[in-house]
Amino acid sequence: MTQLNTNFAGIKSPNPFWLASAPPTNSGYQIMKAFDAGWGGAVWKTLGVPVVNVSSRYGALNYRDTRMMGFNNIELITDRPLKDNLREIEEVKKRFPEHAVIASLMVETRDQWHQIMQDVTNAGADGVELNFGCPHGMCERGMGSAVGQEPRVLKTIVEWVMEVATIPVIVKLTPNITDITKPALAAKEGGANAISLINTIQSIVGVDIDRFVPYPVVDGKSTNGGYCGPAVKPIAMNMVKNCAQHPGVQLPISGIGGVENWRDAVEFILLGASTVQVCTAVMHYGFGIIRELTEGLSRYMDEKGFSSIEQMSGKALPNVKHWEDLNLQYKVVAHINEEKCIGCQLCFTACEDGAHQAIRLNSNPAIRIPAVFEENCVGCNLCSLVCPVENCITMERRDDGSENINWKERTLAGTVPVSFNDELAGGLHHTVPMPMEALQKDLPRHYKVK
């Protein structure tokens, strides 16, 4: 049977699913409820000098029938006194000794860091997470992402913390930076035991177009916030991969950003994470989603024959290459399964207007199934992505697999285009219609602006 137990830089938890430091971990009440439901760990809502928050704090990006596919907040760290939090940490640890309780911290001075490290360690926290990521409100005061964006400052603070640390120290990184490996390296150099990423992305989630003010609106005004939820997952995964692949970093990674189901968690783990943290999905659906997360993850691990998270962590990394290492001889083309096609012609218009004019309509308008003109198909996938029917458009391999030549090799062999009108241009032999032909097209009456 699959073991979901995790040992993350010395922090043990019954499964790799942790609540991220956020409103769901605001209190002992919530965390006990979450552990009782099956969560493996919780990173306490960031502790420090308590703040005062504004009213109206969140905004959301809805897409079609999906609410909150992106989520934005302008909240700060905890607004509760430290002593209340410490007392509750103790209570939670007493009742749930096997579960991971990590204290997220954000303070300013060396003395404050030393003091708070001592306090949370005494309260029984299993580890700490240094919040160098909050991109709004705190950074203006020289904390949060203001630290995360300055590797040297980050390193210094980590060193202060390590001076007194007796429990594992995780550094939480901000994505509001060009190269995520720079702060990751600084964390390593400062002596941190692990990293977690990503914190939220600076954002404006929407604008009230009647009142001319972004969301969330605070008495007619607003400010930029931090963006998270399913929409940020691809960005987060890329950053996790960058850190995981960097030879200088080599720290355990807790993956954060848009995790909502077991599949998301598996993806993060395959890219090098060994625990994942969840915030938005819990704020949307509550702690109950843990059932699907743990059940799905263990079923997947059983199917693939993984007996521990460790075994699967980073499994996809060897297949993430630089562009120049990809095989240029590999050739796929789109294939439409006529049995499945429902005739929406989205593939046609996508390829015709948005790609390579490789899909054609039947000359008999009563037949709505389009056809692929293989000579023009560059195998970009677009049609298969827009097709509303599962597996209706498949990408089929056309090369025989005998050749593997990448850009690097072609450069060495001198077979890459080097001048503007080079005969070796990849698209030279594609049939691109003449510009004027566009105006002679038979378009449906409803295609154009009247």
């Binding site: 029938d65 005739g343 012609q345 989205l346 046609f348 308008p365 029917v389 449906p444």
Partner: protein, 442 residues
């Protein structure tokens, strides 16, 4: 059966005749509109007789541009709100939606359509800017869907329009033919009143055109005349007993029902004769009015019914029984109808033939004839140069809807012999373009 009790008051009537396509809430419209794929060369548009740009208006609804959506709808179909509720969408737009091909529920195009137009009607929004009225004047006979659509389009081109309507309200069969569970009078009139207000045509109510002096007047005072008179009253079957009390024409009975609602009392046992959509409607309505037994009798087989499958299903779902291959021979009774004598039929080379010796009698309290409507032959005979086919349908040019070399144009049921509101709306609009071309040539 008795699935419904006779409605004692208007509230109970509304309950028995609950709307088949109730208005959507904002949330429903948001969720439903999110499903549209925005198909290229969308098949739903092609299946709409008025060719409404359906994917566009659905996208407009989804992006919160409801007035824009309503405008998209009205640009193609002036009876947009009504059509959303009464169109047989199963065989039109929704039947063509690509989701049907995927064995998925098609978009609820009709309800989305009404959702958008409702907001505009409720808020009395202006959607169109009318040009100055020019010198041309057109008369329209009949303020049904065909006449109204023709009037709107002409007004949009600066033509003055007067409509002569026999009844005291506009909308034609929408308010006195279509089943009340599809649309209620208030909603039908809400739209026709809006059109009358916004498009600035005049309607002369209570003005039936029945005499040659009137047609002469129209010819002398207008540059063109549009005939949108629809069909007439229920035709005679030509069997003994048709004159008896309690024998009703379906359209006449439905008109009465829509007018009197719960105050019209249906008896225990109703026989409806016919196999078209009107027969299905009449039977459904009788059942919803609390009739204990409603029997449909059709002289041909089930497969040959003119009614749409879903209309038959709807009638069955409220407990209507059906008998096929039986033709009425005589309506029995002294003063009042008491029953009908039928004879079994079979089909020989497409013709219905009675089978000798198979007569039988069904008792009943009411007989409802849904066996077709008359054409307005009297009116047509007043006008020089009008031609009809053998069945009495007006003959027109297929593109301009002009009646053979006259200043008359026609559209709607008077030409088609009986289709849907949406067809009448499409033809009335199309005829307006025919009239405009004609006026510009003069």
């Amino acid at each position: 059966m008795a699935e419904f009790n006779a409605p004692a008051n208007e509230a109970e009537f509304d309950k028995n005749f609950a709307q088949l396509k109730p208005h959507m809430t904002k949330t429903q419209a948001y969720l439903e509109s999110s499903r549209c794929l925005f198909c290229y060369d969308a098949p739903c548009i092609k299946a709409c007789p008025t060719a409404i740009d359906i994917p566009l208006f659905i996208r407009q609804i989804h992006s919160g541009n409801v007035n824009g959506a309503a405008k998209t709808i009205y640009e193609s179909n002036y009876l947009g709100n009504t059509c959303g509720k009464v169109c047989p969408t199963e065989v039109l737009c929704e039947g063509a939606c690509v989701f049907v091909e995927a064995n998925e529920k098609p978009l609820e195009i009709g309800r989305l359509q009404t959702y958008a137009t409702q907001q505009v009607l409720a808020n009395d929004k202006d959607l169109f800017t009318l040009p100055e009225t020019g010198k041309n004047k057109v008369a329209i006979i009949g303020a049904g869907p065909a006449g109204l659509a023709c009037a709107c389009e002409l007004r949009l081109h600066g033509v003055a329009v007067d409509i002569y309507e026999a009844k005291t309200k506009a909308s034609g069969l929408i308010s006195h033919g279509v089943a009340p569970y599809k649309i209620q009078n208030e909603e039908a009139w809400g739209e026709t009143d809006y059109l009358e207000r916004k498009f600035g045509f005049r309607i002369f109510y209570g003005h039936p055109v029945t005499e040659v002096t009137q047609t002469k007047y129209l010819e002398d005072n207008y540059d063109a005349v549009f005939i949108g008179t629809g069909l007439g009253k229920t035709s005679q079957m030509g069997i003994p007993g048709e004159h008896l009390q309690n024998v009703f024409g379906a359209v006449e009975l439905i008109e009465k029902l829509r007018d009197q609602k719960n105050k019209l009392h249906f008896p225990g046992n109703v026989i409806v004769l016919g196999g078209g959509n009107t027969a299905m409607d009449a039977a459904s309505e009788a059942a919803r009015m609390g009739a204990k037994e409603v029997t449909l009798v059709y002289r041909r087989s089930k497969n040959e019914m003119g009614a749409y499958e879903f209309e038959y299903d709807l009638a069955k779902s409220v407990g209507v029984k059906a008998i096929f291959n039986a033709a009425p021979v005589e309506i029995l009774g002294d003063e009042k109808a008491k029953g009908i004598k039928f004879i079994r039929t079979k089909e020989v080379q497409g013709k219905v033939e009675p089978i000798a010796g198979t007569e039988f009698v069904l008792d009943c309290d009411w007989v409802v004839k849904a066996t077709g409507q008359e054409k307005h032959r009297n009116l047509f005979s007043l006008i020089q140069g009008l031609h009809t086919d053998a069945a009495g349908k007006l003959l027109v040019d297929a593109a301009s809807y002009r009646c053979m070399a006259t200043k008359y144009f026609a559209g709607g049921d008077a030409v088609s012999g009986g289709q849907e509101v949406v067809n009448a709306a499409a033809e009335g609009k199309q005829a307006a373009f025919g009239i405009l071309t004609f006026l510009n040539k003069e």
